[in-house]
């Protein structure tokens, strides 16, 4: 099976969907001539031309709102945010217009847009460029939110996202772009709202998503080798719709939960998960639900210190041992 990078997996998904549906258009800053700020869209302009791959000015509210409007007439824009951190300058267009137009019209309209781009800390780019807004987005009924951890997941989920008739927000990670993984050459789709048990285990369930999945898997190896703790890692893959059933089935097996998330703690994705798990699987739990989040401050610049602000294998190991007590 071919081994490609997460970046290439996204690019292939874009190319396949551009080929499949003439209404799909890729828009964003530097996506065309520059070949993408993070080279995700490299080569697409040469292949598909400037009508399908569109360089926008620095104008998120403008071009995202434009994409939402165009989607009402059948265009399927896939809009890149160079950093998901920039969503806040287009907040009204994303979370008032895209999320609500269907409802306010009593179901007469739908907005089949995709907004994609990297949402992560860990690259020393400071407080305004390091946001992970999946919790903010997922708080809004009407939208779907995906955070893939691997190349395989990224490709299958992005194809599904582009074909989805609701607004879908796809959150990548600049640090994951270079990660390699097995990705079939033949076409495949992964449905939204389906979690994936990335590692089977019996003593502790780590529920996580995104880059924290890789950290959790690394921590799980150490926990097995050095502490004889068998960890099951559940990768949510999609935040909304949420596959809570896979999480609950895991809790029924292990009876202990650690949520690991690259999220500031207050009202994070994990906060919602913890409520649901204790509400629906209270009797399965042998102890309180634990959660490891980003240290609660704006993203620090200083490179070695930022590593300690985010989840990392050592912090996860420590949190897992606490959860086992």
């Amino acid at each position: 099976m071919p081994v490609i990078t997460y970046r290439e997996a996204i690019r292939h998904a874009l190319a396949e969907e551009l080929e499949r549906d003439a209404n799909v258009v890729v828009l964003g800053e530097e996506v065309a001539q520059f070949n993408g700020a993070y080279k995700v869209t490299e080569g697409l302009l040469a292949k598909f031309g400037p009508k399908r791959i569109v360089d926008t000015p620095i104008s998120e509210a403008g071009f995202i709102g434009m994409g939402v409007g165009a989607s009402m007439l059948g265009i399927r824009p896939v809009m890149e945010l160079m950093f998901w951190s920039f969503y806040s300058v287009a907040f009204d267009q994303i979370l008032n217009n895209a999320a609500n137009v269907r409802y306010m019209s009593g179901g007469l309209i739908n907005c089949p847009i995709v907004i994609r781009g990297p949402a992560n800390g860990g690259t020393n780019v400071g407080a305004t460029h390091s946001h992970t807004p999946e919790n903010v987005l997922a708080n809004h009924p009407g939208v779907k939110v995906i955070v893939p951890a691997t190349a395989y997941d990224a490709k299958g989920l992005l194809k599904s996202a582009i074909r989805d008739n609701d607004p879908v927000f796809f959150l990548e990670n600049t640090i994951l772009y270079g990660e390699k993984g097995e990705v079939p050459a033949e076409e495949y789709l992964i449905p939204l709202g389906q979690a994936d048990v990335k590692r089977a285990g019996t003593d502790l369930t780590i529920v996580t998503y995104g880059r924290s999945v890789l950290h959790s898997l690394a921590a799980a190896e150490l926990l097995q080798k050095e502490h004889d703790v068998s960890v099951e890692v559940v990768d949510l893959r999609t935040i909304r719709p949420l596959d809570i059933d896979t999480v609950l089935a895991s809790v029924a097996r292990t009876h202990r939960v650690l949520i690991v998330e690259e999220q500031k703690p207050f009202a994070s994705v994990g906060s919602q998960l913890a409520y649901m798990i204790q509400r629906e699987a209270f009797d399965e739990l042998d102890g309180p639900i634990h959660r490891l989040a980003t240290v609660d401050a704006p993203a620090i610049y200083s490179p070695p210190v930022e590593t300690e602000q985010l989840p990392n294998p050592q912090r996860i190991l420590k949190a897992a041992l606490e959860a086992m007590q």
């Binding site: 509210a61 403008g62 434009m66 009204d92 267009q93 008032n96 009593g106 089949p112 596959d243």
Partner: protein, 364 residues
């Protein structure tokens, strides 16, 4: 600040220098029935809005109600020019546009009453009337937020190779929102077939134009090398003559433009506005006396012999009756149920046979 008093704006189309608006080709084309139709639509808007106000005062309507009374010639004039590939989007003072594109009064009044028979099933309210099958895309609450959407309608038309134009309406208060400037730039950069229509009624809620905006409103288009124009919009002939030029440029040459239509509202910003702090009553009375769009057109059509006093009376009675009937329909209609709250949120949830995703879409 350099004086531009003698400088003719290069990108403007000067429609004031043309022959009287009545004789513009687009207006000469109107048959007697067409003219009566335009008049009738303005009257129907007026009577619907007045009936809605009474319903609001009788506590049948909640939330906001932004009345179009006084501005009728704008919506009727602009929408009367729509071809099959032209589209309209506006802000929250949207009942006039809804009626002008042909939406029924029953479904609009029922929407105001929050009933399940409303055009948005009671889920939108006054600010959110939509009719995609009439190329009408709402009805939006955030000032200026609809303007990038309007640019998007134009983008889609151009992408699909259709000959058409999007009319994106906003008020004089919206012109200072950042999203509007972004939309202007995109439209001009990519030559999108959108006409940005500024319905300038002189006041952004309680703040006059002179207290809100630096410089002239539509003239800002020059900063983007866009065409622009302006006319007095109490005269429906002027509205049509002016807009026709710019719609033509949009459809035929894919040229965007900004057109300022100077109008007036008799009522406050919304029903919550006591309208006692920011403009003199004399100003309202003066406009009503000399520039009421319905009176102006009525006078013109009586002089032409197209209308008679009897027909005017008949049209007015019919409009009142139609508005009353809409209120009765709304009154008699059921509300949506709590089970309806979570419908019409996701296309997938509303089309379960075609749902591809899994997992929980809703939470509690």
């Amino acid at each position: 600040m350099p004086s531009d008093a003698n400088k003719k704006p290069a990108a403007a189309i000067d429609t004031k220098a043309a022959s009287p608006a009545r004789n513009a080709p687009i207006n000469l084309r109107l048959s007697a029935d067409d003219k009566i139709g335009l008049f009738r639509t303005m009257v129907r808007i007026r009577r619907f809005e007045e009936r809605a106000l009474r319903a609001y005062q009788a506590k049948k309507i909640g939330g906001f109600l932004h009345l179009y009374i006084g501005q009728e010639a704008v919506a009727v004039g602009c929408c009367s020019l729509m071809g099959k590939n032209d589209h309209v989007i506006t802000a929250y003072r949207d009942h006039g546009h809804a009626i002008s594109v042909g939406m029924g009064l029953n479904e609009q009044m029922a929407e105001l009453y929050g009933k399940a028979t409303g055009c948005s099933k009671g889920k939108g309210g006054s600010m959110h009337f939509f009719a995609p099958d009439r190329n009408y895309w709402g009805g939006h609450g955030i000032v200026g937020g609809q303007i990038p959407l309007g640019t998007g309608l134009a983008y889609a038309l151009k992408y699909q190779g259709l000959k058409g134009a999007a009319m994106a309406f906003m008020g004089d208060g919206a012109v200072n929102q950042g999203a509007v400037h972004e939309a202007y730039n995109l439209a001009a950069l990519w030559q999108l077939p959108v006409v940005f229509v500024i319905e300038n009624n002189g006041y952004s809620m309680g703040t006059s134009q002179s207290r809100s905006s630096a410089g002239a409103l539509s003239k800002r288009a020059e900063g983007y090398d866009m065409l622009w124009g302006q006319c007095e919009a109490h005269d429906i002939y002027q509205v049509r003559a002016t807009m026709d030029e710019f719609l033509h440029r949009a459809r035929e040459e894919s040229k965007p433009s900004v057109v300022e239509l100077d109008t007036y509202r008799y009522r406050g910003h919304s029903v919550a506005d006591p309208d006692s702090t920011y403009r003199p009553k004399a100003e309202i009375e003066e406009y009503r006396r000399t520039k009421d769009p319905i009176q102006v057109y009525q006078k013109s059509l009586l002089a032409e012999g197209v209308l008679t006093d009897a027909l005017v009376e008949q049209i007015d009675q019919a409009a009142r009756a139609e508005a009353d009937a809409a209120a009765e329909f709304a009154d008699a209609s059921p509300f949506p149920t709590p089970d309806d709250i979570q419908k019409d949120v996701y296309w997938e949830a509303d089309n379960p046979a075609e749902r591809k995703s899994q997992g929980r879409l809703f939470f509690d």
